[in-house]
């Protein structure tokens, strides 16, 4: 392990971490702007031109607010909860290939922190770990509403993880690999997986809405029933961590959807661009395309939030167990049969 490798990875991690935070910050602004647009309002427009400094103002407000730890709470776990939530949200970015290898100063640098050969499963592991932040925080608050919300979050996550895992199996049958780098590499040009797995993508997308606790599945923070949900007792930056974790989760799951199903950094005409711009700029354009797709998905998350009302809890469970899981299993069987027929003839 030479030092150049370590420095290269360190810079990459720092850049990705910074980008995640900035995107999460501006997602809060975008959410309010999108909501305003959909409801025919103006949205935040006071801080800076078009209200562009609003996230900074909100951040400063979060830092300056009084730190309140309830006396009857479990102090250590109360603080560990939001930290864990943010940590789990951030480490998912490690296996996502942000672009094809780029040539900088005569050195080819892969734009992926780590290409482990179980990359897809790693993402699942991180997703399943994410619920601990909510559970621990909700329990340590020693508030019945927080606890109810934590329990909702846990059962929702476990239920939808199953459908998510099953929907991805159909994709893996086609790609024959668990490495995200290879999965993205196979979708060269416009050969995207979504054309072959539309149903799988639909199931995966619905499940990622549930996994990130986004509307219409944001039952853990259903304010009409649970006050504020699992972060009722939180104030100041600890609340900020929970909100930030939700936006980073949204960013990461958008990136995963774009990489698994929508071709990642591939786009039609990329060979032409690669031939004309050389190995330094062409991959960076691919990365820009990838981020464009991610932004589209984030916009979609927000669009759905302001369009579809929140589900009732039994509707959520019915959809997960009786709707999505049988559909995902049917999808696996159909995919398997079709692959067997194609290989035979």
């Amino acid at each position: 392990m030479d030092s150049a490798f370590v420095i290269e990875k360190f810079i990459l991690v720092a850049v990705i971490f910074g980008i995640s935070l900035v995107i999460a910050m501006y997602s809060t602004y975008a959410e309010r702007k999108v909501a305003a647009y959909l409801q025919d309002r103006l949205g935040p427009d006071r801080a800076g031109p078009f209200g562009i400094l609003q996230p900074l103002a909100d951040g400063i407000k979060m830092f300056m607010k009084e730190e309140i730890i309830p006396t009857s709470s479990n102090r250590f776990l109360f603080i560990a909860g939001p930290g864990l939530a943010l940590l789990c949200a951030c480490i998912g970015t490690a296996v996502i290939p942000w672009g094809s290898p780029v040539l900088i100063a005569g050195k080819t640098i892969p734009l992926q922190v780590s290409d482990i050969n179980v990359g897809v499963l790693y993402i699942f592991g991180v997703v399943s770990l994410g619920v601990y932040g909510v559970m621990i925080g909700g329990w340590a608050s020693n508030n019945k509403y927080s606890l109810l919300s934590a329990i909702r979050a846990a059962s929702q996550n476990i239920s939808y993880e199953i459908a998510m895992g099953l929907s991805i199996i159909a994709l893996l049958l086609m790609t024959n690999t668990l490495s995200l780098k290879e999965i993205v590499g196979q979708q060269h040009g416009l050969n995207w997986n979504v054309w072959y797995q539309p149903l799988g993508f639909l199931i995966f997308m619905v499940c990622s809405f549930a996994e990130t606790n986004r509307a219409p599945f944001d039952l853990p923070e259903c304010e009409t029933e649970l006050i504020g949900g699992y972060h009722t007792e939180y104030s100041s930056m600890k609340l900020g961590f929970y909100l930030f974790a939700e936006y980073i989760n949204m960013f990461v799951s958008s990136a995963v959807m774009a990489a698994l199903y929508w071709g990642g950094y591939n786009y039609p005409g990329m060979d032409y661009v690669a031939a004309h711009l050389g190995p330094t700029w062409a991959p960076l354009i691919g990365t820009a395309v990838f981020f464009g797709k991610i932004v589209m998905f984030i916009f979609f998350f927000m669009w759905v939030r302001w369009t579809i009302p929140r589900f009732r809890y039994d509707q959520l469970m019915n959809l997960g167990w009786k709707g999505l899981i049988p559909l995902a299993i049917a999808n696996i069987i159909i995919t398997g049969v079709v692959i067997a027929i194609i290989e035979k003839f």
Partner: protein
């Protein structure tokens, strides 16, 4: 390097396992158990069994322990609600524990340090090789165990549905 990491992680495993037993609060016990499972995941990675590591991570840490935590949070056990144990139970516990210690010492006395096992194929734990093994020579046991799991699942659903049928 790898040996040092092993000893470090193994120490952590033992410490966390002990904390699982000694923690007063059942929720803390479960959280320590999660940490113990995490150290097991690191052990699997050190053994180059990536698939096993990730599955241990997803299934044990991510699903089973969430359910444990779930149930314990609903039960809300704490010192005030816990019934005080009678001295008889304590005596029985001491005797049973003593028997276990004697058995363990007896079985460990004859044990000797074995030479480290060298795998013929160090990449056996990778997904591809594991899949080929499972779906090749071990296909029948694999399918049978899946049937067993299915039977258990149907049984669990049946048990939870019984009230509805009677009512």
């Amino acid at each position: 390097m790898s040996t040092q990491v092993f000893y470090f992680v193994a120490t952590l495993s033992i410490i966390f396992s002990l904390l699982v037993i000694f923690a007063k609060n059942p929720i803390h016990s479960v959280l320590y158990l999660i940490l113990t499972f995490f150290t097991f995941t690191v052990h699997y990675v050190l053994l180059n069994a990536q698939f096993l590591a990730v599955v241990n991570f997803i299934v044990y840490m991510g699903a089973i322990m969430v359910l444990f935590l779930f149930v314990l949070m609903l039960l809300n056990l704490n010192n005030e609600t816990e019934p005080s144990k009678s001295p008889l139970i304590k005596i029985v516990g001491v005797i049973a524990g003593g028997c276990l210690v004697v058995t363990l010492i007896g079985s460990l006395k004859s044990a000797s340090i074995t030479s480290p096992l060298i795998l013929k194929n160090p990449s056996l734990g990778l997904v591809e090789n594991l899949g080929k093994e499972l779906f090749g020579p071990f296909l029948l046991p694999f399918e049978l165990s899946s049937l067993l799991l299915l039977a258990a699942m149907v049984g669990a659903v049946l048990l939870s549905k019984r009230d509805e049928v009677e009512a």
